[in-house]
Amino acid sequence: MSIAEKTPATPPAQTPATPQAAARPTVPRKAPSGRTLLSFVLPPLVVLVIAVALWQALISLFGVPKFLVPAPLDVLAEIGPAIGTLVEPTLVTMGEAYGGFLLAAVVGFAVAFVMARWNVAERGLYPYMVLLQTIPIIAVAPILVVWLGPGPTTNTVVAAMIAVFPVTANTLTGLKSTDRNLVQLFAMAGASKRYEMSVLRIPYALPYVLTGLRIAAGSSVIGAIVGEFVAGIGGGQGGLGYVITSTAQQLLMPRLFLAVIAASCVSLLLFGLVRLVEVLALRRWHESAMSSDD
């Protein structure tokens, strides 16, 4: 049986694949999958340990002065004395950040909605959303303080201002990426724009919205802290922003670092909540959140 051979680059089909090498008997039953809790907790912990070790090593090796970067052990040792003064500020910042986050989520979503709904609104408003994002808080802080008074309300608004654009930008991209045939199907069935939005475009945009919220989770915390710089409330009511300013001024670095760590925890918690919603809402249908086998 003579067969025309014209496949030089790839091994011709006739070449026997050595069964030992190529045969790939698969595991009869799925091994416990990688989705265990440990596989989620371990990597960040490992990174943490490595980072802390590196941090200590760099300080020891290069003699980084303690007034610039405190040693991990100093920070650890500060926990005891500082914890009492950090709980209240952390709670205050948390309240402002989460409030700002919610506000940013609602407003950011609403603005994106309006822009997706009316093309003119998009063209008219988008530049000003970018602009809003660029306005330095210091320029509007006095206005806010005068209107809303110093304190949590102002800080919540500042947090929202900083966090709103990522939500808008991502939501808008999502709303506009919706499958065109589905959109036409809705139109043909006589769906109102409102119905099309709520039943089709919004669910479709959900993965995008959630990415925006991830970003907003961190932004709102930094926004709350920036607000606290501005609002000028001392003491526990001043939140972590107050603690950071005050400790920075006094070069109380271990305590400053603790305050920063507290701020990070506030944002990680919020971030974790967003992730949870993401996993719950998307895992059944969206690529980015689905398990790998099917």
Partner: protein, 248 residues
């Protein structure tokens, strides 16, 4: 009571379509779908069938020519399933009735009935990604059937189905048509199916996309409900259309 003269559902008069990249997908098209008429379209891949169907459904506008659409409630079965990935089978099927604010119970009844017709009554709660390709296409079909339109536009709705399911679906479509007499514009690659199902078969050719002939079916759907329709005439028409297609 005098019977009103019913308006044509769709009328193409010298309609052409040139896409934005400059490609002319359709040379002038003249075609009329009368009320309650079943018209099928056959033609080689890429000859402009989908383009024509989209225009009939108002999803795309002609580049030149006159297109009048007289139907008020269209259903469209896309060439791809086009389902909402986050909604289950039942919700996807109920979509159009929901949009049209049909009462809840009636919406549910129609959807369940349509799913039964396409053989998917057991997967109502499944999400599209949990279905096979053919099942997804059948959900899309059920969605159209449940919507009770006056013009049904279908783009190769049975292509992903096995022969038996396919024949059953075609029979169901005709049975429904007998009940409701909606208009149908139906793209298929099966010439036999095209002839069996329709009053007229539109035979298209490409280069540029055009209608080469509109063939009357020897066994239109309205005529003889339960008689065997696999007559010699049908065979002959199938052969004739095959030859027309091969020649073009």
């Amino acid at each position: 009571m005098t019977t009103a003269v019913q308006a044509d559902l769709v009328r193409f008069a010298g309609v052409t379509k040139t896409y934005s990249n400059g490609f002319t997908a359709l040379a002038p098209i003249d075609l009329t779908i009368g009320p309650g008429k079943v018209v099928s379209i056959v033609g080689p891949s890429g000859c402009g069938k989908t383009t024509l169907l989209r225009m009939a459904g108002g999803l795309s506008s002609p580049t030149t020519g006159e297109l009048s659409i007289g139907s008020t409630q269209n259903s469209y079965v896309f060439q791809d399933p086009t389902l909402m990935a986050w909604r289950n089978v039942l919700a996807n099927t109920e979509l159009v009735s929901r949009i049209r604010k049909v009462p809840r119970a009636e919406t549910r009844r129609r959807a369940v009935e349509a799913l039964r017709l396409v053989g998917l009554e057991n997967v109502q709660k499944s999400l599209p990604r949990e279905l096979s390709g053919g099942m997804r296409m059948r959900v899309s079909l059920a969605r159209a059937l449940a919507s009770e339109p006056d013009l049904m536009l279908m783009d190769e709705p049975f292509a992903a189905l096995d022969e038996f399911t396919r024949d059953r679906m075609a029979d169901e479509l005709i049975r429904l048509w007998r009940e409701r007499r909606f208009g149908v514009l139906f793209i298929t690659h099966s010439i036999r199916e095209a002839v069996k199902i329709a009053h007229e078969v539109v035979v298209m050719a490409s280069g540029p996309g055009r209608i080469v002939e509109i063939v009357e079916s020897p066994s239109p759907p309205g005529t003889d409900p339960d008689a065997a329709r696999d007559t010699d005439a049908l065979d002959e028409t199938v052969k004739y259309i095959g030859a027309r297609l091969a020649a073009a």
